[in-house]
């Protein structure tokens, strides 16, 4: 087993927020002046309150039929097995924007649903952007598979608990799981990245 490693970004502004993606999350085709002002304010706000952090570990894996064995968990999933075909190793990572984004969202949610909705979309774009950053850092020239998360296809959401607990994501990143398998902070992601042999 390879050692665990954490990544923090204190310079969040290096992460890009994709306006087109935000508009897609909002299911809107246009941004007039008023909405754009809210968008700009939310972008400014998320850069202030986000504290992107990730933790990752590399595992030797064994794929047999539909079972993927990570050592710390065995996953019965056709889709994940297909994704990890030809892989002997995989990264598991967890990433989050931190609880500050949740607090800001909760506050906006009490004052203005427009601002809360736009803020949430902007934060989603930022966590995606951070995951891309982490992903790139991990594969670093290796040939890898697209990242795959618990909850995709038949990769059961219940494995979220195994992944988070193996990475000690509560202690290292402050990611917690509720009884109904929701991650807090909301803008958190876990994923598996297969490395081609």
């Amino acid at each position: 087993m390879i050692d665990i490693c954490t990544i923090s970004l204190t310079e969040t502004a290096t992460l890009k927020i994709d306006k087109k993606e935000v508009m897609r999350y909002l299911r809107t085709k246009e941004m007039d002046e008023g909405l754009n002002a809210i968008y700009e304010a939310c972008v400014k706000r998320i850069y202030e309150v986000a504290s992107p952090k990730a933790v990752y570990k590399k595992f030797n894996i064994n794929v047999l039929d539909n079972i993927v064995d990570f050592g710390f968990m065995k996953v019965n999933s056709k889709d994940l097995a297909k994704n990890l075909k030809d892989c002997n190793e995989a990264y598991a990572f967890a990433a989050t924007l931190g609880i500050g984004a949740d607090r800001t969202f909760d506050r906006l949610n009490r004052v203005s649903q427009t601002e809360a909705t736009v803020f949430s979309a902007v934060a989603s774009s930022l966590i995606e952007s951070f995951c891309d950053y982490v992903n790139e850092r991990l594969i670093d020239g290796l040939s890898s598979k697209p990242r795959f998360s618990a909850g995709y296809g038949d990769f059961s959401l219940e494995h979220q608990r195994d992944i988070l607990s193996n990475l000690e994501a509560d202690k290292r990143l402050g990611i917690f799981l509720t009884e109904s398998y929701m991650m807090v902070p909301v803008k958190s992601v876990t994923a598996i990245i297969g490395i081609r042999s």
Partner: protein
């Protein structure tokens, strides 16, 4: 010699990591380390012994995850763990600490564990350990102030053992839930822990940076138990872990900074501890200096009473505020939350919370309002009540070290309030009145202040935790009242006590009260006032505050003043009204314009006419555009919120004429689901269309919904669920309610639902969006 006496003599050493040692002995990843207390007691004892032999004084029991939220047999595990540790003792000055780690869950409102359940989990561990001969309790690796408070209360209320507490910092020097060192120290000292500090997460090299701040604020011994380190990357730069040699030399430096209790956390071994204890052998630790800070805190930050006067927002207090009274009677917590956010945005440093009304249950309401406000505002709160039971419950669930308003010189008050301040840790406002009323001399008031300070001392409350309010009577009924108050402040500052004042009372009965208040405030500031309870919306008061700081040289380069002045200039210039209609303002989502236009219209048109001929048609246009894919959700919401602003202006002018309520609807996000944006969107739109929405919030149990429906007789319930994992609780809610009241109808929505799924779980309507819920409500109520 007990641990507290031993601690006074010199350094105390904790052991190092348990997990790494267990893995060396064969513990597999994913196995519970706690079960090894039962299956491999000899290995556990041997590990403890190896740390004692390395020079550690404290063996930390192998009970980090032994709380009942993680394992089923807490009592047995704790009992065996303590036995295993005690068996390792072979010399004097070797102690056993009952180890309490976090629950692994995040507390409400961000997470789904209640404060009370967290307390119960910790209390179970404490009860299991307290009677079995351990020497102290160590609460460690804590990330969250609220969970930490639950743990410390559980430890202190269920044992008489010394309590040590350590928390985890990230590379920015904050906990992952956003609390800084000053606020952590304020909270823990308030709760009366015997030692406090940090552990885990970072290595000694990184933690070193934060130790001076811990020492600067803490009056109790400081603990530092770093990790051996692990690889981590900050902004692209990779750093690595430390060897026992590196570790011990870094911790040596930490000791020289003034930390007294030292040891290791993850990855540290007996060798780390051996080198550390060897390095510090014969070194005399720094003295522990008692600090004199008057400080309160919230979940994230501390507020100090020094230098700049602390502005305490007075708006959440029903006295003389009919709207707030109505909100309290209707259990409209949104009103209080908005009032809190508004005052924060105006620049308040703290908020007073008073919900005392004869016709409501003050204890329950105070708890609920504080829970709501501390979920959205990081300002520390001043808990304001004359009911000791309400104070007790509110101080208990407050997420930080509170300011308590108030105690006075009456026996009854001293005896009921001071014990609470001692127990929960707080700063208390002391009013200078007693059984004989308010003395009409400054000297008389100071005398009562001194009496309160002395009585507090008997309870173990420091003078620094008392802020005297010398009271201010109305100038219109007693022309000498203000000068007595000012004189009192002067005398109180001479006996070196902090002073606060509720300012607004001075102008009672006078016109343009702001003028009088602000000048009086300015005079009081010159006397040395430390805090003021005031209205942050008052521009006159804020002018005094910023100008005073600039003039007294406590506003560096006058930056705060300049920013205050420029903000206020900007707002007075931008009042030119554009020539647009109310309809257009709503369609374009222009709130400010909508408010102004509605105010103008109300002078010439009947209120209901504005609603029917201007607001509703605009909403219909927006709704139709949305349904036809011409506009989208954000625009719909902006319009809805703009309409809400217009409605508010209209409502203020209706004065009891006509009933605009089209029907009552319950909305809730189901149990297990802690996200409620979808529900809130539906709420705004339904309110726009004239429905009276009873919002029960998020994570609401089926039973709560049933009881509320029965109490109110409401026949339409809207439920939202975001995840497949929470749809079952939606189904359960519908089944429960319908089994008793088949005439109640349900509309449901949420990302994972569809019409078939909705029908399958027994809902009457699937609302694909907010507009559909309006349609369905119109169908149900026939309007």
């Amino acid at each position: 010699m007990d641990i507290l006496s031993y601690m006074k003599k010199g350094f105390v050493f904790f052991d190092g990591g348990m997990g790494t040692q267990l893995q060396l002995n064969g513990l597999k990843a994913g196995q519970s380390p706690e079960t090894w207390n039962i299956t491999h007691p000899e290995i556990i004892t041997a590990i403890h012994k190896s740390y004692f032999e390395a020079g550690a004084n404290i063996a930390t029991t192998n009970t980090f995850g032994a709380n009942p939220l993680k394992i089923d047999n807490t009592d047995e595990v704790v009992a065996r763990a303590i036995e295993n540790a005690k068996r390792a003792i072979y010399d004097k000055h070797q102690y056993v600490a009952l180890d309490i780690g976090p629950t692994g869950k995040l507390l409400k409102p961000l997470g789904d564990l209640s404060f009370e359940d967290a307390y119960d989990a910790f209390a179970t561990v404490v009860k299991a350990g307290a009677s079995r001969g351990c020497d102290l309790i160590i609460i460690e690796t804590m990330n969250d102030t609220y969970e930490l408070k639950a743990a410390v209360l559980a430890a202190k209320e269920n044992s008489s053992l010394p309590v040590f507490a350590t928390f985890v910092l990230d590379e920015k020097g904050k906990t992952v839930t956003g609390c800084d060192i000053q606020a952590m120290v304020a909270l823990l000292e308030g709760l009366g822990v015997d030692a406090l500090g940090v552990n885990c997460s970072l290595g000694a090299d990184e933690l070193k940076r934060f130790v001076p701040e811990l020492i600067k604020y803490s009056s109790v011994p400081v603990i530092v138990n770093p990790n051996a380190g692990m690889p981590y990357v900050v902004d692209g730069k990779t750093c690595y872990d430390s060897t026992p040699e590196r570790f011990s030399s870094s911790v040596f430096e930490i000791a020289q900074m003034g930390a007294r209790i030292l040891g290791g956390c993850c990855g540290t071994t007996p060798e780390h501890i051996r080198l550390l204890t060897k390095a510090l052998n014969g070194v005399t630790p720094k003295d522990i200096v008692k600090k004199n800070h008057t400080v309160v805190s919230s979940y994230s930050n501390a507020c100090f009473f020094n230098n700049k006067v602390v502005l305490i927002g007075e708006r959440i207090n029903p006295t003389g505020k009919p709207k707030l009274k109505t909100a309290l009677k209707e259990n409209n917590l949104d009103y209080m939350v908005k009032e809190a956010i508004g005052q924060e945005e105006k620049g308040a440093h703290m908020l007073d919370v008073n919900v005392g009304l004869p016709e409501i249950n003050e204890e329950e309401m105070l708890v609920n309002v504080i829970k709501e406000i501390q979920a959205v505002s990081s300002l520390p709160l001043q808990i304001d009540s004359s009911n000791p039971k309400a104070l007790d419950s509110a101080m208990r669930i407050y997420n930080g070290k509170p300011l308590v308003n108030s105690v006075n010189g009456k026996e009854e008050s001293l005896n009921s309030v001071l014990p609470l301040v001692k127990k929960y840790g707080g700063v208390v406002i002391a009013l200078t009145l007693d059984e004989n009323g308010i003395p009409n001399t400054a000297e008389g008031r100071v005398e009562i202040a001194e009496k309160i300070i002395n009585r507090a001392k008997e309870y173990g409350i420091d003078k620094k935790d008392i802020i005297v309010d010398p009271l201010c009577l109305t100038v219109s009924s007693d022309k000498n009242a203000p000068s007595i108050t000012l004189k009192s402040i002067e005398l109180l500052k001479k006996i070196d006590v902090k002073v606060s004042l509720g300012i607004s009372n001075v102008s009672f009965g006078l016109p343009s009260r702001d003028y009088v208040n602000s000048v009086f405030f300015s005079h009081a500031l010159l006397m040395g006032l430390d805090a003021v309870i005031m209205n942050p919306y008052s521009l006159e008061m804020m002018k005094v505050y910023y100008a005073h700081n600039a003039l007294m040289g406590i506003d560096d380069m006058c930056q705060d003043y300049i920013s205050f002045a420029s903000n206020n200039q900007a707002s007075s210039v931008s009042t030119e009204t554009e020539q647009i209609t109310l309809e257009r303002a709503i369609i374009k989502g222009l709130k400010k314009e909508a408010r102004e236009i509605t105010k103008d219209l109300i002078q010439i048109i009947e209120p209901l006419e504005i609603v029917n001929n201007h607001i509703i048609p605009a909403l219909d246009t927006v709704g139709a555009n949305y349904e036809n894919g011409i506009t989208f959700l954000p625009q719909l919401l902006m319009s809805a919120e703009t309409a809400t602003v217009a409605f508010e202006v209209v409502k203020e002018n209706i004065k009891g004429e006509g009933n605009t309520n089209k029907g009552d609807i319950i909305l809730a996000t189901v149990k297990g689901d802690i996200h409620d944006i979808g529900k809130n969107i539906v709420k705004v739109i339904l309110q726009n269309y004239g429905y009276n929405v009873h919002d029960l919030g998020k994570d609401v149990s089926p039973d709560t919904i049933l009881k509320y429906a029965e109490k109110t007789g409401i026949k339409l319930i809207g439920l939202s669920a975001l995840m497949t994992t929470t749809v079952p609780s939606m189904e359960e809610t519908i089944r429960l309610v319908k089994s008793k009241h088949s005439d109640i109808r349900f509309m449901v929505g949420g990302a994972v639902l569809n019409p078939e799924y909705a029908q399958m779980i027994g809902a009457d309507n699937y609302s694909k969006d907010a507009m559909e819920s309006v349609r369905y409500a119109q169908e149900v109520f026939g309007n």
